[in-house]
Symmetry: C2
Subunit: 623 residues, 2 copies
């Protein structure tokens, strides 16, 4: 496994494209201030004062620390991208608060320490202590790596040291597994910045011991239900996992940790398990948008091919982000394009759909079909909400969105190679073997396949351009001369220009017929972007629309009804409306077909113009 590839540093890539760019602006302007406000308002930050007493409002909840940590990770990225004294003051204040809640032995959890300090680690299956610890570690690493701040990192190292003393198979330690995986990947980060082998050991223990007999969760006794144990991927050792099951976010977080450990230990069996689950997820359990965890009940993976578009579906925003984090790790281990294809799919579709363009409203459930006549499960809101009771999705966006830029490039130190993974417009200043490489990427990707890459510094490196799997035809030119997607190591000159032309016609895509609800339906994609029909753009209800695949699709501007700042392209085509005159509930009238037009817009932009019916999978005329 390769271990020399890394993604770009977050602050070294400035997004200037029409999709991520404006989202980042909204993230900075709206999302971050709003999650900060909610973190304060709901009592989450003051919980670290450990001053809550029975009878008071704002009782700390056992997942609160993770929300605070994710917001802090987001703030660290914000400060890394742009200096802001006021925000930094707030950040430093929060660090002090968090550190002040640390117990003498290193333990740190605002909820348990306030409410039931005697119950530390007594219900690992459900109480999320180790999950919170993991997110705090991630926040601490971000603060250190991006801002050079050590206070929180040292605090979390003390906590990690305490955990190392507490958990393990060695004499004097106790067994224990996280009920909600996350600390595994966090310990890998902590190990990488500190070099402390005990963190790697603890991570390895959590991964290797999980699911072995006797089952810790049964021994712990808080959970006796095998469904819940399966929900937590703890019914068998992780190397024996044959398929992805249980809570989707937990599953992909575990997979992140496993992939990290596979790389750190050069552990082939662990990598093979990751690869097996990657295939299971992407070949049987993933929406075309990159959404995963199709079952609302338990927020879980369902059986293979159960990918219904409405009603009981889930596809949580956090799960799509988790899948992106997992496949990005698999990419770093292998350099294989198939992982980048999935990452790109998640980024442009199933992740961005979860947040309103303005950055203030969120989906937990990312439906692929909404219709006023289709019920949804009670909690599957059909409109984006300002969630903040269980605020995992909003806080995930707070920390995930600013990281998108780093995925655009990967750097192979050994080969002195820069890869352009996703050619969205950006200015980059990349570090490669001590050199600084300046690159400007121009164009309107993913709404246009013509990309221009201008080299801004005279350094020696190879440049590899990704040809996405959806692309059937491409051209590369170097200073106007035909070239290959791989441009071997050379001494570049300032002003050198590489042109990449990805052929990007709109295309009809079909699902495996085992996806029952998609039989007779197609989706429209262009490049990596999945399109959807919002009813407000159509001449008739989406459910009556039958696409005419024999007529050409054309790329047209987005309707002007979209809020200012949204960029993108719509796709227009011909369709039939199937209509019955009879207004009776059941009729023998076979219906008539009227010719009409349809307009599809990027799925990730849906519901930014109010509530309307929507479908990604639409019927097509069969012959």
């Amino acid at each position: 496994m390769k271990k020399t590839i890394t993604f770009a540093k977050l602050k070294n890539v400035r997004l200037r494209d029409g999709v991520f760019g404006p989202r980042l602006e909204q993230w900075k302007r709206v999302t971050i201030p709003s999650v900060i406000e909610k973190t304060v308002e709901t009592g989450r930050i003051d919980a670290f004062d450990l001053a809550w007493k029975e009878g008071m409002e704002k009782k700390p909840h056992y997942f609160w620390d993770s929300d605070v940590a994710k917001v802090m990770e987001g703030i660290a990225y914000d400060l890394a991208l742009e200096k802001n004294d006021e925000l930094e003051k707030l950040y430093d204040g929060w660090v002090k608060k968090i550190c002040s809640a640390q117990q003498e032995d290193g333990y740190l959890n605002s909820c348990i320490s306030s409410i039931e300090p005697e119950k530390r680690f007594t219900n690992l299956a459900s109480k999320h202590e180790l999950y919170c610890a993991g997110h705090l570690m991630e926040a601490a690493v971000a603060g250190y790596e991006e801002l050079g701040k050590k206070e929180l990192l040292e605090c979390l190292c003390r906590y990690a040291d305490y955990l190392c003393r507490t958990f393990g198979k060695e004499e004097g330690k106790r067994r224990g597994w996280p009920g909600h995986e996350e600390i595994e990947l966090a310990l890998a980060k902590l190990y990488k910045v500190t070099g402390k082998k005990s963190y790697l050991d603890l991570m390895r223990y959590f991964i290797d011991d999980r699911g072995t007999e006797p089952n810790f969760f049964l021994e712990e006794g808080a959970v006796r239900n095998m469904t819940i144990i399966r929900n937590q991927q703890a019914a068998e050792p992780v190397r024996d996992l044959a398929e992805a099951y249980g809570h989707a976010v937990r599953c992909v977080y575990l997979l992140c940790g496993m992939a990290d450990l596979a790389g750190l230990d050069d552990d082939r069996t662990l990598f093979d398990a990751c690869e097996r689950l990657f295939r299971d997820i992407t070949e049987r359990k993933m929406y075309i948008t990159g959404g995963i965890g199709s079952s609302f009940s338990g927020e879980c993976f369902s059986c293979s091919y159960d990918l219904s578009n409405g009603s009981l579906m889930y596809a949580e925003s956090c799960a799509a982000m988790g899948l992106a984090l997992f496949v990005s790790r698999m990419f770093l281990l292998t350099g294989e394009g198939k992982y980048m294809d999935v990452l790109e799919k998640c980024l442009y579709n199933g992740i961005l759909s979860g947040i309103s363009f303005h950055g203030d409203k969120f989906f937990y459930t990312n439906y692929l079909e909404v219709d006023e006549n289709l019920q949804t499960y009670n909690f599957g809101a059909k409109t984006r909400q300002e969630f903040f009771s269980c605020s995992c999705c909003p806080t995930s966006f707070a920390r995930f969105l600013p990281q998108i830029g780093k995925f655009l490039y990967s750097i192979d130190e050994e080969k002195e190679e820069i890869r352009l993974n996703i050619p969205a417009a950006n200015s980059a200043q990349l570090e490669l073997a001590g050199k600084t490489v300046l690159l400007e990427v121009e164009g309107d990707y993913p709404y246009d396949g013509a990309v221009r890459i201008r080299i801004g510094s005279e350094e020696e490196f190879a440049l590899r351009l990704r040809i996405p799997s959806w692309c059937r035809k491409y051209e590369v030119k170097l200073n106007g001369e035909k070239a290959d997607f791989f441009l071997p190591k050379r001494k570049w000159r300032k002003g050198d220009e590489v042109e990449l032309l990805l052929d990007m016609p709109p295309r009809f895509v079909y699902a495996d017929s085992r996806v029952t609800g998609n039989c007779g339906r197609c989706a429209i994609l262009r490049g990596p972007v999945v399109y959807a029909l919002e009813e407000l753009d159509q001449t008739c209800p989406v459910r009556e629309m039958i696409l005419d695949r024999s007529k050409a699709l054309s790329i047209v501007p987005l309707p002007s009804s979209f809020p200012e700042g949204i960029r993108g392209a719509a796709i227009a085509g011909k369709a039939f409306r199937e209509k019955r005159e009879s207004a009776s509930l059941y009729t023998e009238e076979p219906g008539v077909y009227e010719e009409t037009n349809f307009l599809a817009v990027p799925y990730a932009l849906w519901q930014n113009r109010g509530e309307t019916n929507m479908a990604v999978w639409v019927r097509y005329m069969q012959k």
Copy 2:
């Protein structure tokens, strides 16, 4: 409103047809013994000893009395249809047990009296006391009417007298509404057999006061949630109901009581409300099978046109039976065929689907589509179960099935007219204005449209044959001569023969396009029978099947795989299989169409050959 029409007496119609006949045999041979066994085994009958103490097993539940009552109603019908000394002994013993639990003041409830006698009527919203009272009254009336037994009737009259003293708007009485409606229709029955006006008054009170301000359920305080109050049709006065909502069984039971009261009081506004809801249900909220209450969540009516076929759907067996009871009352009030059309639809489809042919397993949820790749909500079992924790559906079948025969005929005393509503083969001995009319109906309805009616007694009466709304062409002959469906009053001669020929081609039926999931799909019906494709009869997965409507459908024998005793006809036709060679989850391959055949079987017979995928609504080739 007509009040002179009645249905035949239960014991006066002996079913000899191929659908109801064998079901009645199984009911007698299997269902009744099995529900008796479960009633004893689970402690439901011994609960009337009031001997349960904390710590003992088999803790009485507040709906248990209703189960016992429904089983007793079923036993009464069984005894009415055929003498059985042993069963009668058991029945009499149960009556004694029940009566022994009656309190001095008349109150009767095995659960409350055992567990919390001080809490009588303190939680009408949820505790089902009045619901249980209603079912016990129905059982008592059945025992009296069918068997001439008075003990239980007198016991329930004492209870009803107590309820009359307790509830009402008069000084000294308290307000109260049943949380689960049922007692309204039961009081109507009790009033009809006893003539006691106070029962009618109490019934009228329950109906008139329901939903008025101040809302009793809010005042009672056990329920503060308006969703639950709506669930119980108590958010507005019943005459103001604009649409059917809330718990479907409760709603149709309330409608039964309202229809009864409309008839008894000649109350037009009440009738109008019933008619409004009849239209709302049948024009917007009813499956093609007669199933209602499409929302699993709360077992409720959903919004208009939300009639999804799998996943979140419900269509409880009890609700289909309740709808049959409601429309049968509307028919008696008006004589209008539209109600009989719905009754017939329920009987042959949405009701019989709920019980296995062998009479021992039951659906709560009557799915219209089952596919191994489609998840269902946790409790929506895909296979029929031997339910007996909440056993409303099994016990509903126990009392409902034997009543089917009586719906076949209605009798208009005033006009001296006999109507043959459903021409299933039977032998009848009808009472009409003091005369006894013998009729033999022969044929294989609903699998054949040719029906022969032989008159067996020399009496004067008019005979009216129902022409179902699904029938486009029919013929009637009287002793070989062309005649009309209405045969005016005449003196019949023994041996007179009426032939009815209902044209009954298989037909494709479509749903209003607002039923999102049925767009592009059709159902196959023949006569009143809804058909379904079970995958085990097909050459390919049902989800890949596209029906070819341009080719003729043919009527063929049922596959031999059906258990012995099942009669019926299957429908064969041509179809295309849509196939993609690519095994990838998403592909651009447009697919190919292979010609194939399909076979459809009556929906009510599905899943009598093991688990298999099934669909009522199947895709069709568009042009």
